[in-house]
């Protein structure tokens, strides 16, 4: 197991980074995605995403911290982010 090779403090740091940094990337991609899937003008849809952004960011952080290890914390941030990123590219 890779987990065993990484000292505990680094594992904790990696999980914190998943929440703070991974959560930020998750939210940036979420806002960009809302801009293209929300009905109406682009600017209004973008503004909708921006107003929701911090609810999504705090939810994402709690979700990352709820995972039992740092690998899962990164996965739950990056997999949905990748899906939303793909949707944004496909729709815009």
């Amino acid at each position: 197991m890779t987990t065993l090779l990484i000292p505990k403090p680094f594992q904790v740091s990696l999980k914190i980074m998943a929440a703070l940094l991974g959560g930020y990337v998750f939210t940036v991609i979420f806002v960009g995605c809302v801009a293209v899937i929300w009905p109406g003008r682009l600017a209004d849809a973008m503004q909708t995403g921006l107003m929701l952004s911090f609810a999504v960011y705090s939810g994402a952080m709690i979700w990352a911290f709820s995972q039992s290890n740092w690998q899962r914390a990164w996965l739950v941030m990056l997999i949905p982010a990748a899906i939303m990123w793909g949707m944004t590219l496909w729709l815009s």
């Binding site: 973008m46 503004q47 107003m51 911090f54 705090s58 911290f65 709820s66």
Partner: protein
Amino acid sequence: MAELNQAAKTGEIGRYRRLMTPVHTWSGLVAGWLLFAIFVTGTLAVFDKPLSQWLNPELYTLTANETLSESQRLDYVAKGEAFFRQYQPNSGFWGMGLPSADNPGILLFWELKEGGLHIGQLHPETGKLLGPYENRGTEGGHHFVHTHFELHAGNTGIWIVGAVTMLMLLSLVSGVIIHKRIFNDFFTLRLFKGQRSWLDAHTLLAVLTLPFLLMISYSGLAIQAKTYFAPAITQHYDAPFGFYTDLMQEPPFKTPTGESASPVSLVELFARAEAELGQPGFFINVERPADSSAMSHVFGLPDPSVSDDNVLYYDGGRVQFNAVTGEMTHVRRPDQQMNGGAFAAEIMLERMHMAEFGGQIYRWLLFVLGLLGATMIAAGTILFWIKRRQGNLREFGRATPLVYRVIETLNIAAITGLLVACIGFFWTNRLLPMTLPDRAGWEITAFFAIWLLTVLHAAVLPAARVWAQQCWLFAVLCLLLPFINLLTTGEHFIHYALQRQWPEFSVELGAIIFGLLALWLSRYLKRRSKVNDRSALAMETG
């Protein structure tokens, strides 16, 4: 009930709470240091205008009419325009606000060649720039606004404040998750019982003010979301500006051409804008006045009778001009619908955050809630410390004592140190020489220097003593504020009361009330520190 508790301890909920507890503890602690400062300065910023009146007594010897006639308004614009054309023809930005009860001079902003915005005031009658004895070199109450949202550090400060606020939001959500008995704790306060009392105070205040805490942190973040999530905007727009003009359905921003030009008469633009809006204007600006891309905006005066009762009121309308040709390029009327629900949401959040509606009652509500919030944060950081002191934990291995010492130092400087720096700002405002160049800048430097000194003070002396000493210092500086004012300006709060200068009177009365509270607290802390010294001595010798 017992079964439920059992399930909570062992089951999914219990596991979840165990994961969330360190999230709450550490996000709360790390955010807490700066958050206390952000709360205290934000609470003071609610009353930035009364504070400015105390901090700049010379300026407020001028009196402005409640309402200005059209000829007065155009006369003031002409005076500001004459100043700009004579002294700042090549500036990157001109802005001019007309005299009002909040600011009795003609308020001018211009961009310096070396960058940065300069602020000056003209005498409304003579049109001359007010000197240091007529307009004290001070940021006034605005100092607290700036510390609150950007720590006087521009964009870097906005990001730091944002990160801290985000941690606050995280600690609020995780705090609610780990909190088992919100309703019960509402009725639980065990005073003067050590750790239990700090926990009770922390949770009671947090539960009591939770709607406010969520509103103020979320709105503070959301109104800056354009900055924090700029990478999302630039996915779809060339620049954040492009998004803004698209959202407002205004013509796109122009870029500088480099061709020199001169703007048409601002008095004429102002008069045409007023006619177009059908109501008085109060502010006019020109972007890049020396460039052929120059554009100008005239802002309509918000109608307080509508604005105070309506959280969704945007502004008094605005008119955009091509400043070189005088062509009217865009108009938004005061009664025009907001562009879209999401934009309306931002306006609502902004006006709730900045107390732009609801009048004095709402301001006092925010002031009281802000103080309660600050107390909750202080109680939380102290609680963290007391738990560590008693628990003898080894969270950081051999470095644990050092890490705890640093945390304790920062706790003190973040709480009592910040309070000393805040009251110190009022003292430097009275004590610095009136003609000192960049006097306003020195006041701010002094504010941060005092704060830094409190960090050093906390780092070198035993913590319990420093708590008591800084608290005492804050109390004395508060209680002596009316005396230093009397010595330097000849004014004091009794005279203010007799003259019915209620804003200035309230500032000094507030200082006295906070001073008395702190004096009482410092005596309590001093007794405690003696007890601690004795028990520490007993431990060493015994």
